[in-house]
Amino acid sequence: MQQLIKTTIASALFATFISSAALAEDLKIGMVVTLSGPPAALGQQIVDGFQLALEEKGGMLGGQKVELIIEDDELKPDVALLKATSLVEKNEVDFVVGTVFSNMLQAIFKPVVQSKTFLISPNAGPSTFAGSNCNPFFFVTSYQNNQNAEVSGMVANAEGFKNVFALVPNYQAGRDNVDGFKQTFEGQLTDEVFTPLGHQDFSAELARMSTSDADAVFAFMPGGMGVRLVNQFANAGLSENMKFMSVFTTDETTLPGQKDAAVGFLAAGSWAPDLPVDANLAFVKAFEAKYGYVPGSYAMQAYDTASLIDSAVSKVDDLSDKDAVRAALKAADFESLRGDFAFNNNHYPVQDFHMLNVVKRDDGKYHTSFVRTLAEDYADSFHEQCKM
């Protein structure tokens, strides 16, 4: 905990120091992430990952000193909007990095791209902006929201599951995930259960699972819901006769709360802390040394975002030449922690996706672990509608 305070104070000091010493040619980057409420852990990972990259490069990206302005959207659309507007209009930033959640992205999208400022999402990748609403000023360094679920379908196929019980919260991302799963899964979906957001007690759903004929569960229960679901799943003794696979339910942000209950659970994603890429292993080591916890995909994506900006800025002489900046970003000429990485025509990534499972490390910490690659150079299914 103290770590968090220190980081925040340090970053605040860092920011004030830099801003007072700001020169005309400084590179200004604004960040809008969620740092309040339970999901604050996700936003904190993004801040930490980005700052680690920045630190390793001596506070410079593309050879320019960076002024990083971090804003908390408080998970309120109007706050996000105000913060983003002030970044664009008051601070006149060159790049906006954000957000964690798709609905926050919806809120800040229009004012940022309309001001012809590049918006790079280090996590949220809604279908909304992947298809016909794709935008020349918008890039995503994470994934398209549906992809992880689509790969989960492949995981289910690969593991030979015939009957799967799907459990998601009742909101857009939940429905997207079920649809994504159905798209690739070849077996039978026995149940599709939608719970309210913030669901506390899963025992009714668990009872239904135990009486269903499903041999596996597919879940999308981010944050605290995931912690509760996994613990209650294990407490009810369901782990013995049922497989559990999920997206954003057993990741490095929730595992400290799930611990042994989650070990052996399957997941799908484009990355794991032990993904055998040299740069990645170095990153995880440095990150743990500095922040004292295992990084999740959020931190990784933020690190990659910083590397992307680094590569683009070093290629361009004049940041006001938007076409040149766009071309440099699009080239994605940086060493991604995920290995292969490229942008599609809609500025969403084309990358490999893997099957992961949860393991306990020798030092008692938990993380997701790379099992094998299931989809190579996997593109999202909306990019064809993008005319750009």
């Binding site: 925040t8 507007t85 002030s86 008051k90 919806q106 809120a107 999208f109 229009k110 004012p111 857009q172």
Partner: protein, 315 residues
């Protein structure tokens, strides 16, 4: 001229000058912040009509802001662009919903009224989250905005600023004017002593219902402008915490005072912005600040500024 009127005029003159003054000192972006405070103030003024003048503490008022915003947003999506038409739709919908919920809610008083309005607010909230066609929980980004007979002066920058300022001025003027009118007198009499007011020959519920509907309609208008400003609507607008924020603004500013709601709204927005820029954990300061305001600044900000003694009239 009385002090609070001078203060009010000063506030509006300052607000009028802001869009011209701020760019001169290179702080033009602050107009966005001021718009946010003004929108909050409009909703708070309407709530003060209920709490301060009517003695009716509603914990569901934000629902009307959200309803106004959604009514306008959905109409906009279906191709109605003229802001005046949207205004009529917003007024009609919020007024209608307020008439129905108000006539049920006003069967209760006191804390029971607070809870039943909370119930209606929550119903509105969950209804909005189920509108899958309009974004459900995620909310709805508006790709086009309202126009004034095809002109986009009401969309951005100073045009929008002055529309919001004008609306604030109109609501401020109307509610203050109303508090002196026959209607306002009866409303306050009913707050003081409903039984006596009935025996004076007034049907208290009728007057309260009219106040409830008017307050809802003003809140709805602020919702329309919130939509136009944020270019985005979401069910979060109707969350009970938002209604709580509105109560904080009204109480902090001073109940049934001429400028209380405006002062409270600006205080909240400025404190949030100022504290937030010093320390990320600004709530550690803001929370105790509220406690101290209650313990030591009875009667709200408006009393501090105009130093006129006035009791707290609402129990």
């Amino acid at each position: 001229m009385d002090r609070s009127l001078i203060l009010g005029l000063l506030i509006f003159l300052t607000l009028l000058a802001m869009p011209f003054a701020l760019p001169l000192i290179g702080q033009g972006y602050l107009t966005g912040l001021i718009i946010k405070a003004m929108l909050l103030a409009i909703a708070a003024i309407s709530l003060d009509l209920l709490i301060g003048h009517g003695g009716l503490v509603s914990l569901g008022h934000a629902a009307f802001v959200a309803l106004g915003a959604y009514a306008a947003a959905i109409a906009l999506q279906s191709g109605i662009e003229n802001i005046l038409v949207l205004l009529l739709i917003t007024l009609a919908l919020t007024g209608f919903v307020a008439l129905i919920t108000g006539s049920l809610a006003l069967r209760t008083t006191g804390v029971y009224f607070l809870m039943i309005t909370l119930a209606f607010g929550q119903m509105a909230y969950f209804t909005l989250t189920s509108l899958a066609a309009y974004g459900g929980d995620d909310g709805l980004t508006l790709w086009s905005l309202a126009t004034l007979f095809g002109s986009n002066v009401v969309q951005k920058g100073n045009g929008l600023y002055f529309i919001v300022l004008g609306t604030l001025l109109a609501s401020w003027w109307f509610v203050n004017r109303m508090s002196q009118s026959r209607f306002g007198r009866v409303l306050r009499a009913a707050r003081d002593n409903p039984e006596r007011t009935e025996v004076m020959g007034y049907s208290v519920t009728r007057y309260r219902l009219v106040a409830y509907v008017i307050a809802a309609m003003i809140a709805g208008v602020s919702g329309l402008l919130v939509m136009q400003h944020a270019e985005f609507v979401s069910p979060a607008l109707a969350a009970w915490q938002r209604s709580g924020d509105l109560i904080v603004v009204v109480v902090l500013g001073g109940l049934a005072t001429r400028n209380g709601a405006i002062l409270g709204a600006f205080f909240l927005v400025i404190v949030e912005e100022l504290l937030g820029s010093f320390i990320h954990e600004w709530r550690l300061i803001y929370g105790p600040l509220l406690v101290f305001m209650v313990l030591f600044a009875k009667g709200g900000l408006s009393d501090l500024l105009t130093s006129k003694r006035r009791g707290n009239q609402v129990a």
